[in-house]
Symmetry: C2
Subunit: 264 residues, 2 copies
């Protein structure tokens, strides 16, 4: 959507996850940063490979954890989070997430998911006590990070029909559901429809130009486009065992789409 009135200045964290600084993903990251700054926003970037981000969660993330004690991840995360004693690389990323009004993730779709380095950013940064847990609010819609928006920008080697409603790869919304619903919505963030560049291994100039135009429109709508209308856990649609109540969905809906309210 092209804005006709200036947006208020916002804070945006762009997280980029490709090993090659000359990749399409790097180009799209630079494009997003420049486009958002030109619109008056404040932007910070976590370029995970450039930062040599540690992907694997382990006991080094919680430096006070006694080496001779079994590491219970949830409990150790909660203790270290509340004590302000997570490893400095994690604390720095949590500070950026809290600072932000929106998070944009730029990555190539590898094995129908995010690259390991970005999964490691999820595993290590979104700790119990920071991003979820009873102390910070109920999951799915009203969690710790509520008030923030989230946009996935993904490059996909395969062509678009394979990710359509009947495509063999699964609908892109279903493939990305663990991130859109399981990370963002679970922690309270409002995810927008993902932005995808298909056929990314061979992108002629005209398709690249069209992709940039479309990505620019999506970035312009970061704070005004309608988020995916996932159902809230506490909105009356679910029972006490977190199952959707009978008859809440539109006729014929099943699969992961059950957890999306009908679109107007």
């Amino acid at each position: 959507m092209t804005e006709t009135t200036p947006q208020p200045r916002k804070k945006i964290l762009v997280v980029s996850a490709h090993p090659e600084p000359r990749s399409l993903n790097a180009v799209l990251t630079t494009f997003a940063v420049e486009h958002l700054r030109a619109a008056g926003h404040e932007v910070r970037v976590s370029d995970l490979h450039a930062m040599k981000w540690k992907a694997a969660l382990d006991a080094d993330d919680v430096p006070d954890h006694p080496a001779d004690q079994r590491l219970h991840v949830l409990a150790a995360h909660e203790r270290a989070t509340s004590a302000g004693r997570l490893s400095p690389d994690i604390a720095a990323e949590q500070e950026k997430v809290l600072w932000s009004d929106a998070v944009v993730l730029q990555f190539p779709l590898w094995w129908f998911s995010v690259p390991a380095i970005l999964k490691g950013w999820f595993d290590r940064v979104f700790t119990y006590g920071f991003a979820h847990g009873p102390a910070v609010g109920p999951p799915y819609g009203e969690g710790a990070l509520a008030g923030r928006r989230a946009l996935l920008s993904v490059t996909v080697g395969a062509r678009e029909p394979g990710f359509s409603d009947r495509g063999i790869h699964g609908r892109l919304a279903d493939v990305l559901h663990p991130v859109q619903h399981g990370l963002f919505w679970f922690t309270g963030m409002a995810p927008l429809e993902p932005f995808a560049v298909y056929g990314s291994n061979d992108l002629p100039a005209e398709r690249f130009a069209a992709a940039k135009r479309e990505y620019g429109r999506r970035l312009d709508g970061l704070f005004t486009d309608e988020p995916v209308p996932f159902r809230s856990l506490v909105g009356g649609d679910y029972d006490h065992d977190m199952r959707l109540l009978p008859g809440v969905e539109a006729p014929g809906v099943n699969g992961l789409e059950l957890h999306v309210r009908p679109r107007g």
Copy 2:
């Protein structure tokens, strides 16, 4: 299923992905290894944390890649794979996968997916030219790794109803679809229904004993249980754009279940 006749001796690769050697995941890994060996099988283990497995794919994985040249991951993987010039840690894992008749992955469900270190095993080991690509066969059912079986064994902190058909977390089959269908079936492996231990953060002795009994039965059925009947790409169900042909599915089926043949 309890076998009444001895199974022929098979080769099984168990991949384990938890940072804590005293964790439930470690216990289940040891249980699987001992159970399978007691049944006469040959077992090898990749304990990713113990191996200090490198999670992030980068140019170091393809040592012949010139530093001044842009890294195109697919092309670089293909060249290094066909030249036998992948980094030694990757080559060793590929050899184990090729050696195996079945792969068992043991992991905790973190953010509705595998831990980063295991995702990095997917990203780095299943290279173009080894696990997929025109040179090694069509995707989805007849790929490079056909003839192998695959079993996910996953510990889940949440309780089971949330992962049931109407559960807010999504059906476990849908949440794990990127691995079951996107990695295993894509490369030709036949995935079984996942084995899950729910409520894993607080597992009383009797539930743990029941889980071990059930896991033992699933391991006994590794080569005899019916795999998930995913549709083959070349079986006549899809058009040339990889979309399911109209009317192939049973009435009322949609979402990711479209890609599973009706069960008998």
